[in-house]
């Protein structure tokens, strides 16, 4: 296990003449829950896509547990769990079958897979629905199943892109508890969210990015003190001149 879970150095991504990510550098440790905040088009998803090996950076490097995202994507795919912003699932399969499929892709031993699904489903409050076809799920249910699909391989690093969008408060708190437990297991977690209370509640540190650039980095408490703000929403407002939710 390398010293840092994730090391991002001068990461830049350009699409033709648009710079989606501009010279981003971050270091994220094991057991750290790291939030990335930013308005729409700020470059959050680009960063997550590069870390999950779906995109190659134009410049700079990124390593996850010492594996380079460009030169060793197979290594990364074994140790990372990715929960995409738009939950991708097979509607004709049940929730359980969707999760099992992902477990099969990671070659999780069958007996462990069965037991793990049972445990995770209970924790996230889906035990009454998991054998139903996913096409019949509500938006919140789909998000919860999508997160379990991402985490079924017990990854060292979790990349959670807006995991609680469209969830009711009860489900959201169940997911928060689930994420907190992941942190206690020593996993490194990157969380993108536009719920400020979620970032404030869960994250050890947050990075605020805008137009591809890192504009602030620190723990929620540090940032609120530094900018003499009541909450992260105010911090964001002072830095970017716009409310985060409006920006999305």
């Amino acid at each position: 296990m390398s010293e840092s879970a994730i090391e991002i150095t001068n990461l830049t991504k350009r699409f033709d003449d648009i710079t989606a990510l501009d010279n981003l550098s971050l270091e994220i440790g094991w057991g750290e829950l790291f939030g990335i905040l930013g308005p729409n088009g700020a470059g959050k998803s680009t960063a997550v896509n590069i870390l999950s090996t779906l995109l190659e950076p134009t410049e700079g490097t990124a390593t996850i547990d010492g594996c380079d995202v460009v030169f060793d994507p197979d290594c990364i795919r074994k140790i990372v769990g990715v929960c995409p912003q738009e939950p991708a699932f097979y509607p004709h399969l049940t929730g359980e079958e969707n999760i099992t499929l992902m477990g099969d892709m990671h070659l999780v031993p069958k007996d462990i897979l069965k037991e793990r699904i049972k445990t995770m489903v209970e924790k996230i409050g889906m035990e009454d629905h998991i054998k139903r076809r996913a096409k019949d799920y509500s938006g919140g249910m789909i998000r919860r199943v999508s997160m379990l699909m991402a985490l079924i391989n017990d990854p060292k690093i979790a990349l959670l892109d807006e995991p609680t969008v469209a969830m009711d408060p009860k489900s959201r708190h169940a997911v928060w508890d689930f994420i907190r437990e992941l942190k206690t297991q020593g996993k490194a977690i990157i969380l993108t969210t536009h719920y400020m209370e979620e970032a404030q509640e869960l994250c050890d540190r947050v990075a605020i990015i805008d137009e591809g650039k890192l504009i602030e980095l620190g723990s929620p408490t540090e940032l609120m003190e530094k900018h003499q703000a009541k909450n992260l929403e105010d911090v964001f407002l002072k830095l970017t001149g716009k409310k985060l939710r409006e920006a999305f």
Binding site: L54, P84, A88, E97, H106, L107, R133
Partner: protein
Amino acid sequence: MNLRRILALINKDLKKTTREPAVLFLLLVFPIVLTFVFGLAFGGIGGGATTSFDVGLLNLDVTGPNTEWSDSFVNNLTSSEVFVIQEFTDNITGQAALQQGNLDAFIIIPEGFGDSIESYYGSPFDPSVWTNTTINLYVDSGSMMAVSAVPSLVQKALMETIFGSESMLIGLPVEIDSPALVESSTLSQWDFMAPGIFAFAAIFLTMIVAQSMTYERDEGLLKRLRTTPVSSAEYMVSQTLSNMVIAVVQVALVLASAFAIGYRPATGPAGIGFAFLIALAYSLVAVGFGLIAATISKSADVATGISFVFIMPQMFFGTFMPLGGATEVIAKFMPSKYITDALTTLFLRGAPVTSTIIWFDFAVVSILGIALILVGIALFERFGTK
């Protein structure tokens, strides 16, 4: 390449086939419905009944000393029970009946017909002294079956008239295989069309593959899979194998449905096994075309339309349509033509499975299938995953 991943992905695809009503219908119910409908429409249901042709007859050899030969010929035509003879007294009325579709064929026995046969018996080894005459035979070109069967059956009746059924067995260096002609009397149009049903059913795999791939791409499922250790090769192999499984099931369903309505192919278990084999090879073609359609298409809906660019020519040039002229040339570029041709050779003509023509057809389908699937994978991975 890991077998567990491949099997899990195949399982996912097959569940879609059985759980999604539209896919279930197109891939599994449609072949059954198609078989029953075509069987009903083209004479397969209640099969085994003798098919007959309405044949007009104008006998111009009614005077002179040798008219018993033309009478004998007419008797032979009538006694076969294949022809329902309707006698005409002039050519114009007979031709009109044929053109109006009231007849399948029209035969004119020329004046001097009997004299010709007598001249043959007078000097059987000296053609220079024979009195030559020609029987005029007109066949309804709109009836594929009449075109195929009537000339041979008339030829058979003529040979029986000249040589008698007994004398056909001796003394001639060239033998006419009359039993095959007798067999043809029980064929319906359905028997000619049935081999095409196998290709027809499998053709729609192209559309399902194209829809499925574009759906998985558009819904982010391919991206999601790409964040796991599954390789592109494992994914593509699973797609191919799951469609091969569906192709096998389709052949079994079409065969079972065809048998249920009385279809009996002129082949044995080995020939049936070959049908499964060539259907497997054809599924490669369908997946290849599906991948190419998915590459071009921007959405699953568009994929449906684009798929028909690949489906329609194969349907019309490679399954049921009678070929000839320019269509014959076009058909050579249609993979479905080769599966139909091989199964027609086996099921209709009763060729043995060792026949070189069916293995040539199999080789063409297999080579095209492998080439198309490689091109499809290359195109889809290069341009289709974004």
